[in-house]
């Protein structure tokens, strides 16, 4: 509320009042004011909110079961939705008939233009549970008078006839959360080791810095591949998920540790820290009451900028078949189908999930850049 009122004041009387406002604003308000001026960063944030919305309500945005396969529907091209029916807004799709090309034996699908299957928003489909406990059967899209799984193919289907759109929704959930879980682990390692390194200095600092330098000079992908391949083949999807996040964060914490260490070292020389020391504050109080609040925004920026690298790592590993394994669905797992050039040329839509990867990574980069610029008062 305070922000809203302050925002109005700026519009009404710029100049003197604005300066007063800055003088009494909290650090977080200042950061927010600077951040919202950064158009790209705000845009990136909105995109990310949308992505996490999809991750949270994947069952709603998907319209069929992502694992339901049907050989009769393999490799269908994305199907256009006709929005206008006889002059009014009434979306529909044509039914598709699958036949085999007598020459190439490829399955071809011909729309049957005499039928119109109406498409509705927020219609009824397969039952699912909102937030895991509220039963519902509403989906973003549904069809009337036919089975959704037999008639709606927004992004086409893969080789097993599974609907790519629905799979992409669930993959977004996996890939976006793996980024968060993994960055949380890296953050713990980075803050503890970087903090210890920067605060105490001396021999501990040297050792930790050497470890970081060593880790940074090792090519990571081969190492990740080796560790991931050593995971037992009989592990469940959940076990592999957590193992992969741990493997990625074990090597990825170094950048965060560097940022934290740099902050600690520069803050240690600030007058307010010395003042606290002279007043007899305990080490814990100095660190958590005086130092942490003044660099937490930098940590948030560094964390945001670390997530895209993690997402790319997971996608790459899964793409190679060494990360998450089917039946798990992630962006990398989806892209595995697009691995060879033959299948790509025949069915280029299999590459569509890559757009999700690129957009998510860009959005994280924009948001991270925005936070970093906003958090640095000396820029």
């Amino acid at each position: 509320m305070a922000e809203l009122a302050a925002g109005n004041a700026e519009v009404a009387i710029p100049g003197v009042v604005a300066e007063d406002r800055i003088a009494v604003a909290t650090q977080w308000q200042l950061i927010w004011w600077r951040f919202r001026k950064h158009k790209l960063a705000v845009g990136g944030t909105l995109v990310l909110i949308a992505f996490y919305g999809v991750a949270l309500f994947a069952d709603f945005f998907a319209y069929v079961d992502p694992t339901e396969s049907e050989a009769q529907r393999s490799l269908m091209a994305p199907q256009p939705i006709h929005w206008i029916d006889e002059g009014s807004f009434r979306p529909y799709v044509h039914a598709l008939k699958g036949t085999r090309d007598p020459l190439t034996f490829k399955r071809v699908y011909v729309p049957d233009t005499s039928t119109k299957i109406p498409v509705t928003f927020f219609g009824h489909g397969e039952p699912w549970q909102l937030l895991g406990f509220i039963p519902t059967d509403r989906h973003l899209l549904a069809v009337e008078g036919a089975k959704t799984s037999e008639s709606l193919f927004l992004m086409g289907t893969d080789t097993h006839g599974r609907d790519l759109w629905s799979r992409l929704m669930y993959a977004t959930r996996t890939s976006m959360t793996i980024g968060l879980v993994s960055v949380a682990l890296s953050l713990v390692l980075g803050v503890v080791l970087g903090g210890v390194s920067g605060y105490f200095g001396g021999a501990i600092d040297t050792v930790i810095q050497r470890i970081i330098e060593i880790l940074r000079s090792i090519p990571t992908i081969p190492l990740w591949m080796g560790l991931a391949a050593a995971l037992p083949a009989d592990w469940s999807v959940v076990q592999v998920y957590f193992a992969i996040t741990i493997i990625i964060s074990l090597i990825g914490w170094t950048e965060l540790a560097r940022v934290v260490r740099g902050r600690f070292i520069s803050l240690k020389q600030e007058d307010f820290v010395m003042a606290a020391e002279l007043l007899g504050c305990s080490k814990t109080r100095i660190i958590f009451r005086h130092m942490v609040p003044s660099f937490i925004s930098h940590i948030i920026a560094a964390t945001t900028l670390a997530i895209p690298a993690i997402i790319i790592s997971e996608t790459s590993l899964s793409f190679l078949g060494l990360g998450l394994r089917p039946p798990a669905i992630s962006w990398g797992v989806l892209l595995q189908d697009a691995q060879n050039i033959q299948s790509l040329v025949i069915s280029p839509w299999l590459l569509l999930p890559s757009l999700a990867v690129i957009i998510a990574v860009l959005a994280f980069n924009f948001m991270g850049d925005g936070i970093r610029d906003a958090a640095d008062p000396y820029l």
């Binding site: 090792i218 992908i221 080796g226 391949a229 060494l322 860009l362």
Partner: protein
């Protein structure tokens, strides 16, 4: 100066040691020891290993001893140049890897040369004409370059090459040269095939370097000495190229320390998509076949090569940057 060299050298040795421990761990992570899986793979291919042979192999590798002794024995063998046998191939690991490791490094170095060659002029342009149309265009392309994982870019290049130009852009040699022994023609053929993998590998690094170069040079150009130079009537070209660019270039050289591991890392996965004869496809095959001995050796050798490359670049940095040469960092 000597101090610097010694420190770098010690760090390199430490890193090699850390890599060897990690590789050793990877070899030993899966259940069962190397000999068990060796016997399994030999019997799968039809040839049996006798109990005596297995025992001899176990003794040679010290598999009945504690893990530290095993590590020492393994390192001993490797230092003698004996990398063991690659199961699937039935040949010594060094035979299987040799050329592929060299090609991995050739591609990585080509990618870095590309990165520098592109990032330097663009970085200078963007800093000299900030907020111009081209600056924005380069920044935009740079962001996209950062956001596209290497393997995706490789896929897209393959697709475009195949669907629009009807050629396969994969591979490093023309069919005539794949089996040929090394000759000048083969090297020329390799050079002709290098640009595409080098570009695919270099794009992400280039995007980063442009940003670094731009912000460094922008800082430098604001400094008073630049104004002094202008006031004294130096031609604009000399004002920029002679001093600020030289100063801004230093972080450029120092980034190779992490650029090289990054590019080598990326080459593994890009090679798979573009089917380049590097260690990448070999490593994946070995890992999927659970031939951890071959995989561990590849990871070790890749790591060592990277460390050597980084060390060389550190020496280069010393040559470029007088502050390091004279012992002030």
């Amino acid at each position: 100066m000597l101090n610097y060299i010694v420190r770098r050298l010690m760090l390199a040795v430490l890193t090699v040691w850390a890599i060897s421990v990690l590789s050793f761990m990877i070899i030993h992570l899966p259940p069962g020891d190397y000999v068990t899986s060796y016997i399994a793979s030999m019997s799968a291919s039809g040839s049996a290993v006798s109990e005596g042979e297995a025992q001899a192999l176990r003794e040679q590798l010290g598999l009945d001893k504690p893990i530290t002794v095993q590590y020492a024995k393994w390192m001993g063998l490797i230092l003698q140049g004996n990398f063991g046998m690659a199961m699937e191939w039935g040949r010594p690991v060094s035979d299987v890897i040799g050329d592929r490791l060299t090609l991995t490094m050739v591609i990585s170095v080509a990618a870095i040369i590309f990165t520098w060659g592109i990032a330097l002029p663009i970085g200078i342009y963007s800093a000299v004409y900030p907020y111009s149309f081209l600056d924005y265009a380069f920044t935009f392309i740079g962001f996209i370059g950062l956001a596209i994982p290497g393997f995706l870019l490789a896929l897209v290049v393959m697709y475009v090459g195949f669907a629009w130009f009807g050629t396969s852009v994969g591979g490093l040699f023309s069919p005539d040269f794949i089996e040929a022994s090394w000759s000048l023609e083969k090297v020329w053929d390799l050079t002709k095939h290098l640009p595409i993998p080098a570009i695919v590998l270099g794009v992400a690094g280039t995007a980063q370097l442009i940003r670094i170069m731009r912000s460094n040079l922008l800082d430098e150009l604001r400094k008073p000495y630049v104004m002094t130079a202008r006031a004294r009537g130096l031609p604009e070209y000399r004002v920029i190229m002679r001093y600020p660019v030289r100063v801004a270039l230093n972080p450029f050289v120092s980034t190779i320390g992490y650029l090289l591991p990054y590019v080598v890392s990326g080459s593994i996965i890009v090679s798979l998509v573009l089917s380049l004869p590097t260690v990448g496809p070999l490593l994946l095959k070995a890992l999927i076949a659970q031939d951890m001995f071959l995989a561990g050796t590849i990871i070790l050798l890749l790591g060592v090569m990277t460390v050597i490359g980084t060390f060389i670049s550190d020496m280069l940095l010393m040559w470029v940057d007088p502050r390091i040469r004279f012992g002030r960092e």
